[in-house]
């Protein structure tokens, strides 16, 4: 039963990811991105990462997708990729090269997985388990993250401020 759920969610994620790349209208792309993120949140649930699933929905679908939609609304809708593409043949080269990259990454991932035998220990993916690790072993990176978010906030404000 979990394997069936995995396949359905994985298919959904891959199809939505392809939709992001293929669709011409960026607002459709944003919608497909939300679908992809939601199915990955379901996969996190399946992998017993409950906290991450919740954070995925809140941060990605709630914040990042809304940010994308706002940006698309601010920019002129539908007016994109104007003019003929001077590099069209080169762009099609990206598909076979992507296949090659997939092969390479898959081989690396397989060798890494083979090198590490499965422990079989249950991972505590609840807010309690992840939070305990965040506030003990990873306290300093956690604080640095807060600083990064502050810097991003100030940077966005200075970037979008209209010059007098």
């Amino acid at each position: 039963m979990p394997i069936l759920t995995f396949w359905i969610l994985a298919m959904l994620a891959v199809l939505c990811a392809m939709g992001v790349v293929v669709r011409q209208n960026p607002i459709h792309g944003a919608l497909f991105l939300v679908g992809n993120l939601a199915s990955i949140a379901g996969l996190f649930l399946l992998a017993r990462a409950e906290f991450l699933a919740a954070v995925q929905v809140i941060v990605y679908a709630g914040a990042i997708a809304v940010l994308f939609v706002f940006a698309i609304m601010v920019l002129i809708p539908g007016k994109e990729e104007t003019g003929p593409d001077p590099y069209r043949p080169q762009r099609w080269l990206a598909v076979p090269l992507g296949g090659l990259l997939a092969l390479e990454v898959a081989l690396i991932g397989r060798s890494v997985l083979w090198a590490t035998p499965s422990r079989g220990a249950a991972v505590d993916g609840t807010a309690q388990g992840v939070g305990r690790l965040l506030f003990t072993d990873y306290l300093f990176p956690f604080e640095v993250t807060s600083f990064l978010l502050l810097a991003a906030m100030v940077g966005v404000m200075t970037l979008t401020k209209r010059r007098a």
């Binding site: 991105l33 996969l43 996190f44 992998a47 991450l52 104007t82 990206a94 991932g109 979008t160």
Partner: protein, 101 residues
């Protein structure tokens, strides 16, 4: 019991490559940013799978940090795109071949 980690890693490889091809093929900077999000998410899936393999929640903590960085990156990137668009009035990365205007 459960889904083997190899399945998760295979899925993350597929999603990552779709993101790479999206960055290479598309000219709209917004779609390129969405493809970058796809790649970050694929990395997250792989991190969760490897964390499961090792039997520790450290992979999930790393995913948490990746999400924070992604949020910051999207905010700054979209602000840059909007401010470029104000000057250029066009939305294609091929035309951004100058480091100044």
């Amino acid at each position: 019991m459960g889904v083997p980690e190899t399945h998760y890693v295979a899925l993350s490889v597929v999603l990552f490559v779709i993101g790479v091809v999206g960055v290479l093929v598309r000219r709209n900077p917004l779609v390129i940013f969405m493809s970058i999000e796809l790649m970050l998410n694929a990395a997250n899936v792989a991190l969760v799978a490897f964390g499961q393999r090792h039997g520790s929640a450290q992979g999930q903590v790393l995913v948490f940090f990746v999400m924070c960085v992604a949020a910051a990156e999207v905010a700054v990137g979209l602000a840059i795109i909007v401010s470029i668009f104000r000057v250029r009035r066009r939305l294609s990365v091929d035309e951004l071949n100058l480091m100044r205007w």
